[in-house]
Subunit: 202 residues, 2 copies
């Protein structure tokens, strides 16, 4: 019987919760299912967390942090267009890599809308704001209007969300990979038209 530290167990529970939420939804994410997924005893969950709500608070933070890391890891690129493309591609590649995370994030957003709670909206909002910040950084030499930044962030989010929905619904990795390229080309065409620069020949 391997003894595991509380810290490690907490982390296990968070990952297990993401997995369970992805499969059973927020309402279906019961303490029993999460414990089973984490290969831990049910009582263990309440040994590590005072309540289910405490665990979920950590789950929200985990998801939000993942988005932050994602945007940060797409280093500053030379041009605004490069940055935008890299942001969109980065998110979609991460979605492709981790369907469970994607599903859980979608589930959280949907749940947030229903509950009118600020928490889940915060996940969506923080992610969007981080994207805006990255775009502002890339355009710092030729500052753009706030409205333009908002629009670009919105288009990136829209294409990423739409991609996620389709990929999760069909679960077809090959199709999703092609759709990723389509989404990128959509962003590029629009940016070229919107910003008035000639597009790079494909």
């Amino acid at each position: 019987m391997a003894r595991i530290s509380v810290a490690q167990r907490r982390s296990d529970f968070i990952n297990a919760a993401v997995e369970v939420i992805a499969v059973h939804g927020i309402d279906g994410a019961t303490t029993r299912r999460i414990a089973e997924q984490a290969q831990a005893n049910l009582a263990m969950l309440h040994y590590c967390y005072d309540s289910k709500e405490d665990l979920f608070a950590d789950v929200y933070e985990f998801v939000a942090g993942r988005y932050r890391d994602l945007v940060k890891s797409s280093d500053p690129h030379s041009t605004l267009v490069d940055t935008a493309r890299q942001l969109l591609r980065g998110v979609m590649e991460w979605y492709l890599e981790s369907p469970s995370f994607t599903a859980a994030a979608l589930e959280l957003i949907n749940w947030a809308r229903r509950q009118h709670g600020e928490r889940g909206i915060a996940v969506y909002d923080q992610a969007l704001e981080t994207v805006r910040a990255a775009l502002r950084g890339a355009a710092s030499e030729h500052p753009l209007e706030a409205e333009t930044i908002d629009q670009i962030a919105y288009v990136i989010a829209t294409l990423a969300d739409g991609f996620a929905l389709n990929w999760l619904t069909y679960g077809d990795r090959a199709a999703a990979t092609e759709q990723m390229e389509t989404a990128v080309s959509v962003l590029e065409s629009w940016l070229a038209a919107r910003l008035g620069t000639t597009p790079v020949a494909q």
Copy 2:
């Protein structure tokens, strides 16, 4: 006490179910809540439907039918680009008009993915196929490759889905109205690039 025909009651229950699903999610759509929303007695629901599942079957059909009507009502337009634009705009305008329907549809798709049931995926799939059919019709004089049709349908769906997610999350009608225009312009830019500069084969 006004007596209402079973047929009318069934219709009431379907509409009530859509409303309840939008607010409480699929799991939260209990018979009690649906009956209350329909201003009917709980036992009445089981008088009109043998089971909750039977009611939900009608709800799926209702949602799928709504999408069919939506695509059909966007009359055939002269050009492919016109048709595509009209399809996207039609869906988004309907989303804007009926948030409950939008939320319920999203909820259904999410639920379908979790349950691996064919039913909910069918909603998404049927909608996409109807879009493809409309596009094929518009391009009948200069037939396009199936792959191109698929791509256009995918982009329309992606933009519509992303729009829906954002609009429901923030609930900001003014912002959503502007984002609708942005989405249309994104589609237009991409179509121009995709159809204008691309030969028959890529």
